[in-house]
């Protein structure tokens, strides 16, 4: 049986301490700049904050993984190299990378630090994963959220590294690291700047009748009735019309959140080494709730006890949730 480590999000030092205290095996976080894919306003760590966070986490036996998972545009590579140097100096346990130039730099300069391949690298076949393992010494791959459990099981047999899968949180189907939708509308890039529908370009407009539209850079991404649950204007979660679809529909995906709690035993059985909880942009109450619930569930499963899944299901109670690609490929 795999170790089934629990990998938890930390958008702020307080969230990091919360995740550590709630039983995270590892936390992942990033600096306050374009070097990570959650470069959101008011989020993330200064080098000093990361130094304290590493000390705090290590004192409780929790690992710290530093996300350097964006793609430096030519001329700005030094920012990523400096971030890697800082992370190595502060003693982070692994770097999560996507760009080959960044991976190469770390493999050459900080060979003692583990490399994890970010989902932003979009390695979705054994051959792609093996490329990164053999060329950069990658020790773990974060799989895209597009594989079924039998597919994961097969991949596990065909690759020389550990597998980390998302089990909870935002559910995206676009191939990560290949999406310029935000840049097309806002001029800020997901790959190069680490942003996705940046808050600075977001506006909610209310009409007198109670309907509300969510806009990104002046484009209406969705429109909600007075009692309808609203959403953040993420382009791939918006509603649009098409020639055959005169009524606005979710052209890409429903705004659902991923919850694989029911599949945990099967994922462990498939050889998944680590479970990742999405949500560095979420509050520490979210972190506390989700990490605590999954900690109990994973411990129960590992001890051979029936896990209480009710808590985990309740985390997204009232909200739409999905087991996404993991159960069936019919969604494709």
């Amino acid at each position: 049986m795999s170790l089934a480590e629990l990998i938890c999000p930390a958008g702020t030092p307080a969230a990091l301490r919360t995740a550590v205290d709630a039983g995270a095996d590892a936390v992942y976080c990033g600096f306050q700049d374009a070097t990570n894919a959650r470069n959101f306003p008011g989020l993330n760590f200064t080098p000093d904050e990361l130094a304290d966070a590493v000390v705090y986490a290590h004192a409780k036996g929790t690992k710290v993984l530093l996300a350097l998972n964006t793609y430096p545009p030519a001329g700005k590579v030094d920012l990523w190299r400096q971030a890697a140097d800082t992370g190595a100096r502060l003693g982070v346990d692994a770097f999560i990378v996507a760009d080959m130039g960044v991976a190469d730099y770390i493999a050459q300069t900080h060979p003692q630090v583990r490399l994890h391949l970010s989902v932003q690298a979009a390695a979705s076949s054994p051959e792609a994963i093996r490329y990164y393992c053999e060329r950069f010494g990658v020790k773990r791959v974060v799989l895209p959220r597009i594989l079924t459990i039998p597919e994961i099981k097969q991949v596990r047999k065909d690759i020389p590294c550990e597998i980390e899968t998302f089990i909870f949180g935002n559910h995206g189907l676009m191939v990560e690291g290949r999406c310029s939708l935000t840049n097309y509308l806002t001029g800020q890039s997901t790959n190069m700047d680490g942003v996705c529908s940046p808050a600075s370009d977001v506006e909610y407009k209310r009409d007198a009748d109670g309907t509300m539209s969510s806009q990104l850079a002046g484009f209406t991404i969705d429109c909600f009735g007075p009692d309808e649950k609203a959403g953040y204007p993420t382009i791939c979660k918006g509603r649009y019309t098409a020639p055959h679809r005169p009524d606005a529909y979710y052209a890409f995906e429903e705004p659902v959140s991923l919850n694989l709690s029911r599949l945990l035993p099967e994922l462990i059985d498939a050889g998944v080494h680590a479970f990742k909880i999405e949500g560095r942009q979420r509050s520490k109450s979210y972190v506390r709730g989700v990490v605590t619930a999954f900690r109990h569930a994973v411990d129960d499963i590992r001890a051979g006890r029936p896990a209480d899944m009710a808590n985990l299901v309740a985390l997204t109670e009232g909200q739409k949730q999905t087991q996404g690609a993991f159960e069936t490929k019919k969604w494709r």
């Binding site: 793609y71 690298a121 979705s124 792609a128 490329y131 290949r178 310029s180 097309y184 509603r239 052209a251």
Partner: protein
């Protein structure tokens, strides 16, 4: 533009599901009439489409090569299923023509034998380009969203290593790819029972906001820009920073005429305003954009100052 004879015009792979017959006719005209130097062939977007036109590939290659074009075969951008892995591995075994790789699975299969790096490979910077060159890359197509300043630095790095450098100057930009087929979804189907509904949209399926602004185009698993990228005015800059290849992406317009406009502009046979007008006449009422190049929202059209 003293660099004209160095700067090559290329035709990118067809992104859409054009029928075998349409493709045969298209490439026959390209071979006979289009002033492009290099032509990329092959299915990049959806592995389900490949069987329809792959049987024609040898003839198409021969036809284009007889016409003096360099042919390059492009690999799939998304590789997950068995047939996609096999297609990628098979392509990587070819000695001729050249191949362009769009997925790390292709890099793995190719080893250090020579290859081109496609636009889906995320060659954003000089460090990555240097790495790729060490693994046998001979040519790199930069990502569509890379701004001009970064293109200049990336191009210099690539040229210093002896690599060709390519930038898309015409056609819809690829904005995203997915594991899900959005064409099938729009018709209440899934990828497995899509019945190739994407064939109906030779230039992609428009997506429109609820306040009636068309912003995106769906092409199977790919999402494209509604606007056509048009870097006609920026071509002198691109050539001067060392970009060696300018890519035209096939759209459902007269691509021979498009190629002629770009060729004439490269050869300084037309002034830039006339060229722009000619392109508008060919493409109809589609919007042109160059925002990515100028570091702004991709859909935007930034006017160059007259000084340039």
């Amino acid at each position: 533009m003293a660099v004209t004879d160095m700067t090559k015009l290329t035709l990118g792979p067809i992104a859409y599901h054009w029928s075998a017959e349409e493709r045969r006719d298209f490439y026959a005209r390209i071979a006979d009439e289009a002033p492009v130097d290099e032509v990329y062939l092959g299915e990049v977007i959806c592995s389900k489409r490949a069987p329809f036109h792959e049987p024609d590939l040898p003839d198409t290659i021969a036809r284009l090569e007889r016409a003096g074009k360099t042919v390059v075969l492009s690999s799939l951008a998304e590789v997950m299923l068995k047939r996609e892995r096999k297609a990628t591995a098979d392509l990587a075994e070819m000695d001729a023509p050249e191949i362009e790789i769009n997925n790390a699975a292709g890099l793995y299969a190719r080893g250090d034998r020579p290859h081109r790096i496609g636009p889906f490979m995320n060659a954003y910077n000089e460090a990555t380009i240097a790495w790729m060159a060490r693994q046998g890359a001979s040519h790199v197509c930069l990502p569509a969203e890379l701004p001009g300043e970064a293109i200049a630095i990336a191009a210099k790095a690539a040229r210093d290593l002896g690599l060709g450098v390519e930038v898309q100057v015409f056609g819809r930009a690829s904005l995203a790819v997915s594991a899900r087929c959005y064409h099938a979804r729009a018709h209440g189907r899934t990828k497995d029972n899509c019945q190739f509904v994407c064939e109906d949209d030779a230039d992609g399926m428009p997506l429109c906001t609820t306040d009636e602004r068309v912003i995106l185009r769906v092409n199977g698993i790919q999402t494209q820009s509604e606007s056509y990228v048009d870097l006609l005015p920026e071509m002198p800059q691109l050539a001067s920073v060392g970009v060696t290849h300018l890519r035209l992406m096939p759209q459902a317009v007269d691509m021979v005429a498009v190629a002629q406009v770009f060729r004439d502009a490269l050869d300084e046979k037309s002034d830039s305003r006339d060229a722009e007008q000619a392109l508008k006449d060919i493409c109809g009422d589609v919007a042109f954009s160059n925002g990515f190049y100028h570091g702004q929202a991709g859909y935007r059209r930034i006017a160059l100052t007259t000084a340039s």
